[in-house]
């Protein structure tokens, strides 16, 4: 890229980001505090708002570990075992990303709703899934399902099985191999996958809107609370809720950023991420090796 194009290109990129991200987000912040900090605080400390925040937190607390365990498990299966139908599992993992979240919500209602396939059986056993916490967790876990798999799988494929086999020859049980060899190797990608999962779960709207029933103070997550505020012209509450959501998102991004930069002296570089490799690493050579000291 020649010098004379650099400035216009930067300006174009910044303008694009400005109109798409900075301006709308900034205006949300502005509108939230338009009538003073007190009004915003009042709106966000109402029982419904606090409950929505709590529910969002609770859903993330359940759905993220579920997706993490499932994601690592599927990534291990897909990378360490060959079996017929593996491609199908691989494709299924991406399905929640491919279909609209609304479709995910409707599909859950179809299966677990009152008139759904398991509806009668569930009702007979006093279990409610749709329009209650289990449904919200399921919808959130479903839409955020691919992230851990997609982050961890390529790293597992890249590092191969040599280290795990070496650990096995040294006497490690399969669980020890996973805990002491596999897990440290995928640590960074797993952290990134978990962060993306968390962000998605906290911000999910469509799928949760379908299954939650939108009962304020009961089945309203933070995103639904914001939508509720917009619809009922309780705009300060909506904007204040949006600010909280945005702050959570920023915190998540900060964690990812810190994790990505990583400690510069960490030698556990995963090969797929050369940005961690410091240029000053002296390239080791065999020439300085004192061999065969005849003692």
């Amino acid at each position: 890229m020649t010098g004379r194009w650099r400035l216009p290109l930067r300006l174009a990129a910044l303008t694009y980001l400005g109109f798409l991200v900075a301006l709308p987000v900034g205006s949300v912040f502005y509108r939230a505090f338009q009538h003073g900090f007190g009004a915003a605080w009042h709106a966000i400390s109402s029982p419904d708002a606090v409950h929505a925040l709590w529910l969002t937190f609770l859903v993330a607390l359940i759905a993220v570990p579920l997706d993490t365990v499932f994601g690592v498990g599927v990534a291990l299966i897909l990378s360490r075992h060959r079996f017929p139908g593996a491609w199908l599992l691989d494709a299924f993992v991406d399905l929640p990303l491919a279909v609209s979240p609304v479709v995910v919500g409707i599909a859950l209602v179809l299966v677990y709703g009152k008139s759904g396939w398991f509806g009668n059986w569930l009702a007979g056993h006093g279990i409610t899934i749709i329009f209650s916490l289990p449904g919200i967790v399921m919808a959130s876990a479903t839409v955020a399902l691919p992230y851990v798999v997609r982050e961890v799988l390529p790293v597992l494929q890249e590092i191969g099985t040599d280290q795990e086999q070496a650990a096995a020859t040294l006497g490690a049980s399969p669980f020890t191999v996973f805990r002491r060899i596999t897990l440290p190797s995928i640590r960074r990608s797993l952290a990134y996958g978990v962060t993306l999962t968390t962000a998605r779960v906290i911000g999910e709207f469509g799928a949760v809107a379908v299954v939650s029933g939108l009962v304020a103070g009961k089945t309203e997550t933070l995103t639904l609370f914001i939508q509720d505020g917009v619809e009922n012209l309780n705009l300060v509450a909506a904007y204040a809720g949006a600010v909280v959501l945005a702050l959570i998102a920023l915190a998540v991004l900060a964690v990812v950023g810190a994790g990505r930069r990583g400690p510069t002296d960490a030698p556990t570089k995963e090969r797929g991420t050369p940005r961690w490799r410091s240029r000053s690493d002296p390239s080791p050579s065999d020439s300085e090796v004192p061999l065969l000291s005849t003692t």
Binding site: A166, A168, A172, I181, P267, K269, L291, L292, S293
Partner: protein, 332 residues
């Protein structure tokens, strides 16, 4: 195939790439399950024993270093898994790092080591658990020529120090001849011959072994070593008449291609002194005879078992007899 590895030996599984050597090694280690056949250590069937309980030291072709652990932690891994006391682990690791001469690199990570250093770290890691059998998969394959040469000598010396029964896989006959005291030639999943390197060089069981272990040429339909042939200027009894086609000087040795009178061609390897004395030029009439006692293939093989050229590995029992566990203080 049936293959026995003697106690305390350094045996090389030698053969062309893709011949099943590494697979055999992995089956012995328990990393792969044989379709049929048995593995025995010291007379005990271990075919069903999982890899972690076999007590085997395995060095992978690309060393498989634990990239997130320091050299010291790599070497101590096997001992930590076995829940040995901390002080014992520390002493043992120090001893091993010293033995493989990377004690000054103990706190480095594998990514900060050269290939040769990684190789020696992998060896120390494998030796830490005091294996009853040490398996090395193409131990020098990924190193450049000079380092490879040094490590060969070093490995042989190391083996003399610790005398743990060792099996290594290589496709390099020179490497196998130099390092090993036993050779097993494996080709296309078959065991072609097993024995001492020199015996096998002089008495190859078949044409494949003959050609694989060193230079070979044909005289009267028999395979011979070109350095076992003598060129005469004058005919004598039993000599084969021919005409010099080409004389090639290759530094120390001189290669003479001869077109034989009865059809066919042979080549003779001469030292420079002998070649200068003969003063050969292409077109010269010469007579070739064989020297020495070195036999042709098919004749006496004191240590070799003639392999069955049968169905290959499938269905045939695979035996590997390993010796007594090491003497307790192997690394001092």
């Amino acid at each position: 195939m049936s293959l026995e590895v003697p106690d305390g030996s350094l045996t090389a599984l030698l053969g062309p790439s893709g011949g099943g050597k590494s697979t055999l090694l992995r089956v012995v280690a328990g990393l792969e399950v044989p379709d049929s056949g048995t593995i025995e250590f010291d007379g005990e069937d271990v075919t069903g024993v999982p890899v972690r309980d076999r007590g085997i030291g395995f060095c992978f072709q690309h060393y498989a270093p634990f990239r997130h652990l320091t050299v010291r932690k790599n070497v101590s891994f096997g001992l930590e898994v076995r829940k040995r006391p901390k002080a014992e682990i520390r002493a043992k690791v120090d001893e091993l790092l010293d033995l493989v001469k990377i004690d000054h690199l103990a706190d480095r990570y594998p990514s900060q080591l050269s290939g040769g250093q990684r190789q020696r770290m992998a060896l120390a890691r494998a030796l830490a658990i005091e294996p009853q059998l040490l398996l090395l998969d193409e131990p020098f394959g990924a190193l450049d020529a000079r380092v490879r040469q040094e490590l060969r000598v070093w490995l042989r010396e190391l083996h003399e120090t610790i005398s743990v029964t060792t099996v290594l896989v290589t496709h390099d006959q020179e490497e196998a001849m130099e390092v090993a005291d036993h050779l097993a030639i494996i080709n296309e999943g078959r065991l072609e011959q097993i024995g001492h390197p020199t015996d096998m060089y002089d008495h190859p069981a078949n044409e494949f072994v003959m050609k694989f272990l060193g230079p070979a040429t044909q005289l009267n339909g028999e395979w011979v070593r070109p350095h076992d042939l003598v060129i005469h200027r004058n005919p004598a009894d039993g000599d084969n008449a021919g005409t010099v086609e080409r004389v090639t000087h290759l530094g120390f040795e001189v290669r003479v291609d001869v077109a034989l009178e009865g059809g066919g061609a042979a080549w003779v390897q001469l030292s420079r002194g002998v070649a200068n004395e003969l003063d050969l030029a292409s077109g010269d009439p010469v007579w070739i005879s064989r020297t020495g006692a070195s036999g042709r293939h098919g004749k006496g093989q004191p240590t070799a078992r003639v392999p069955s050229r049968g169905p290959g590995t499938d269905g045939a029992p695979l035996q590997l007899l390993a010796p007594d566990p090491l003497a307790p203080n192997t690394t001092s």
